[in-house]
C-alpha cells in the first residue's frame, strides 16, 4: 500500500509523541523532469525508519542520512540533487531533473 501524505504526517506526529527524534523532508522546488512535485514529503525517525518519498527512489538514501544529522543538530537544511551536482553519478536523478529538498526537525520550539 502506498503511503499518502496524510499517513506520512500522522506517522510524524505519532513518532514524535512516542519520543522519537523525527525529521520531515519536503520537495520545495523542481526544475526539468522531476519525479515528484513540490510538496512531496518523506518522514524519518531516529531509527532510520522512513515513510513517503521525495523522488522515485533515487535520492532517498542520501536524504535519510542528512535527516539523521538534522535530528541530531535541530538545524534545518536545504539539499539539492540533480545532474549538475557532482554527486549526481552517485545519488543523482537519472531522469535529468533537479530538486531541492528542505529537511527540518519535527518538534523544535
Amino acid at each position: 500500500m502506498l503511503n499518502r501524505d496524510e499517513d506520512i504526517l500522522q506517522a510524524a506526529e505519532a513518532w514524535q509523541k512516542a519520543g522519537h527524534g523525527v525529521a520531515l523532508a519536503t520537495v520545495v522546488e523542481t526544475w526539468g523532469s522531476a519525479p515528484r512535485p513540490a510538496g512531496s514529503s518523506l518522514v524519518i525517525n531516529d531509527d532510520g525508519t522512513f515513510l513517503g518519498s521525495v523522488s522515485g527512489g533515487c535520492v532517498e538514501g542520501a536524504v535519510v542520512t542528512e535527516a539523521l544529522d538534522v535530528i541530531a543538530s535541530g538545524q534545518p537544511k536545504m539539499l539539492e540533487f540533480g545532474v549538475a551536482d557532482e554527486t549526481a553519478w552517485n545519488v543523482g536523478l537519472s531522469c535529468g531533473g533537479t530538486i531541492r529538498v528542505f529537511v527540518e526537525k519535527v518538534g523544535q520550539s
Binding site: L2, R4, Q10, A38, G39, V106
Partner: protein, 234 residues
Amino acid sequence: MKLQTLSEVNIERAARRPVIVITDTANGDQRLVKAKDIATDPLRAELSKQLRMGKSGMIEAAGKKLFLNVYAPTARLVIVGAVHISQALAPLARSLDYDVTVVDPRTAFASPERFPDVPLIAEWPDVALPPLNVDHYTAFVAVTHDPKIDDPALLHAFARDCFYIGALGSRKTHAKRAERLKAQGASDADIARIHAPIGLNIGAVSPSEIAVSIMAEITAELRLPKENVKEQAA
C-alpha cells in the same frame, strides 16, 4: 516544524479543510494558514492562487524566499450504484488514493461480499448523501441506470461544489435524463456539469475498462489546467 503546527495540519486534514504551511527556507520559520483565514492574510493573493491550483511552490515576498506547502484534502469518490462497474471502479479509485464510498439502497447490490473493505451505505440518496458532506475535493458518479436513484443523487451533486460529476448512459438516455432533471428544477448549467456518456472515449467494453475510462476522465478534471480539460479529454 513545531509539533503544534504538525498537529494542527493533521486536524485540518482529518476534517477535510485545506491548510497551507508557509516556511521561510532561510531559517525554518513557519506559520500555518487555515482556509478560513486566507482572505485576511497579508499573502492572500499568493495563498489563494496556490490553493486554487492545488500546488505547493516557492514564492518571494518582502525579500524572503517562502515555501507554500498546500495541503488540500484527499480526493474522494462517491459512487451511487453498487453495480458491476462499481466493483471495478472502487478498488481502482482506491489505488489512485481516493477515499471511496458506495451508495445504493438496494441491499442485494450493496453487499460487503460484492464490495470487500469499501464503505457502503445501503440507503436512498436523500438519506445517504447529506452526511457525506460532498465538497470541492469530491468526484461524484451516478451509475445505477435507475432514475429513481440516479436523479435525486445528481440533484444533490448540483447543489454541491464537487469537481467532477459523471453519469452512466448513452446520449439518448442522457437527453431524457436532462429533461427529467430540468423538470425538477435543474438549470442548463447544472446539466452541463454532467460528464455523459461517462468516461474518456477509449473504446471501453468490460466493467474494468469502463472503470479505467472513468478514472482517466476524473484524473484529467483534477489535474489538467481548466482551459485544457475539454480539449484534451475530447
